[in-house]
Symmetry: C2
Subunit: 314 residues, 2 copies
């Protein structure tokens, strides 16, 4: 049986993950998720990317806001703010229950892997989903306003500070999830898809773990990435802004270079078709597709493209 | 200036407290609240009696359920239960915010007294309210089903187990709130009202603290209690059931005897007027009144009766 691994971060990655889940069976597809965004907030362990994927796969995501749950209510945070509590991180009443249950299970001694398994099962998601690590690996962002916790940069400060460096030292010290390493050396592995997530904030934390990076470099299966940039800008989030601040060209070719030798192929948005020759010259196979996913069909089509591309690269 | 102290527990006590708050100014009236019901639940510090009084004084209490907040939503607990979390203690979304904020402030090093001050102020309640102690003093209930945490007995088991003994050992070790002791020795103190709360579960925890009991016995101000029994039954809660299980007669006279020498006067419900002679014979002043409070006017009238009684006893 051919098996596939999808590496995913936030909302963009989850869209493609949903597309893949409509084509492949739970025996064929597994996910590994960035946990560099995880943080402790008002006594709760919050796992934004893990939950974004969970809500998306369970059909509970809110398509209007692009984050959080559909049909959410906000009575907790409104009351909490009225009592002088912090409200910059907007916690919905139902979302809060996920954080509370996760925190409770972690405190009882369960690993983050076990907790994800339990929460996904409770939401009837049959796909194996691993955190990149069971260790805390908080991403920090060095900015012109000082070094910030990831969520302070991302949510509280709305990505306004100028990024000088992404500090992934904690991920560098974390133990990569052994299940992911095992899956990467599985002879049945037929391909790895790096979803269209922010390379610097969502994918680099995984690659900062030496064993995970090595296992990805060593896997016999082809590895492809889907460009998160469309026409030099991100569909959502600060990818292009960060590239500018880091002094990098804001184009999809730069994303391909960023992943470098890890990749066998790269999926470019049709808007950026003019970059195909340049990227092909760097020795990478390129597939041009519509990467901008508005409908479920768009998600499934891009997933189909990715899988076809991987089969061709095998 | 004449000052008054009201000792209160749950819903019945809070009703009279509200009545008193409509007659007296914040400079004239202070409350001391049972915290024997406090417990840790899913990582939160829950203070049921403190919150019942807060919601009642702020006009946020739910008159239909008799507990919790008006206009409450239940999305957190519904989702939490769906994830395998405990749901026997029904936490509303807005109520949860109070527990979360209290827990956060306590963890940051604030005393329970400080937290109550802050939460009451945030709810625009101008009346000084003290916890009986800043120490944990959890009441435990020895039953035919074993010794239970108070909320396990009261909420989870719905007071079904037969009570053999109320274990107030923790209160016995707790340090009584020094502000309450100070207030009891204030020369301006004109009276103490023991509200119509469950004597065994809501008032005895305070009296189990030796300094508080002594200060109440020693105060120059008259002390009265309002019977929580009407016609041999409690308006709400398990007072009569517990009295039966402890082998006590289920009548208001027994409540008067229970408080014994601490009291100067006792307010009896009009339904129980036939007990007046017997209680008076025990050397206690008695006032007969309508203690069953359905409307705000009932609350104010009973408060007026209590204050008039205290002035007469002075």
């Amino acid at each position: 049986m051919s098996k596939y691994l999808a590496i995913t971060g936030g909302v963009g990655g989850a869209k493609l993950a949903l597309g893949l889940s409509k084509i492949l069976t739970p025996a064929e597809l597994a996910f590994v998720v960035n946990t560099g965004d995880d943080f402790q907030h008002i006594g709760l362990h919050v796992s934004p990317d893990v939950d974004t994927l969970m809500y998306t796969l369970a059909g509970l995501d809110n398509p209007e806001t692009g984050w959080g749950r559909v049909g959410e209510s906000w009575n907790f945070i409104e009351t909490f703010a009225g009592l002088g509590g912090e409200s910059w991180f907007n916690l919905g009443d139902r979302d809060l229950a996920v954080h509370a249950r996760r925190t409770q299970l972690l405190r009882a001694g369960h690993s983050l892997s076990d907790v994800i398994h339990l929460l996904y099962a409770a939401n009837s998601i049959p796909f194996t989903t691993w955190p990149m690590s069971d260790d805390p690996a908080p991403t920090r962002v060095l900015t012109d306003a000082g070094e910030l916790d990831f969520q302070h940069y991302f949510v509280r400060e709305r990505c306004q500070p100028v990024v000088k460096k992404i500090n992934l030292a904690a991920a560098g010290r974390a133990l990569a999830n052994p299940k992911v390493l095992e899956f990467l050396s599985d002879p049945d592995l037929a391909g790895v898809v790096i979803c269209p997530s922010n390379p610097f904030l969502s994918i680099d934390p995984l690659l900062a773990m030496p064993e995970l990076r090595s296992a990805l470099a060593a896997t016999q299966a082809p590895v492809i990435a889907i460009s998160p940039l469309v026409g030099g800008d991100a569909v959502k989030g600060p990818t292009a802004k960060i590239m500018r601040e880091l002094g990098l060209p804001q184009d999809a070719g730069e994303i391909a270079s960023h992943y470098g030798d890890l990749l066998d192929g790269f999926v470019l948005d049709q808007t950026d078709a003019d970059l195909e020759i340049k990227i092909t010259h760097s020795g990478l196979a390129v597939r041009v597709a519509q990467t901008f996913m508005q409908t479920l069909d768009d998600r499934v089509d891009l997933a189909q493209t990715a899988l076809g591309f991987l089969q061709q690269l095998k």
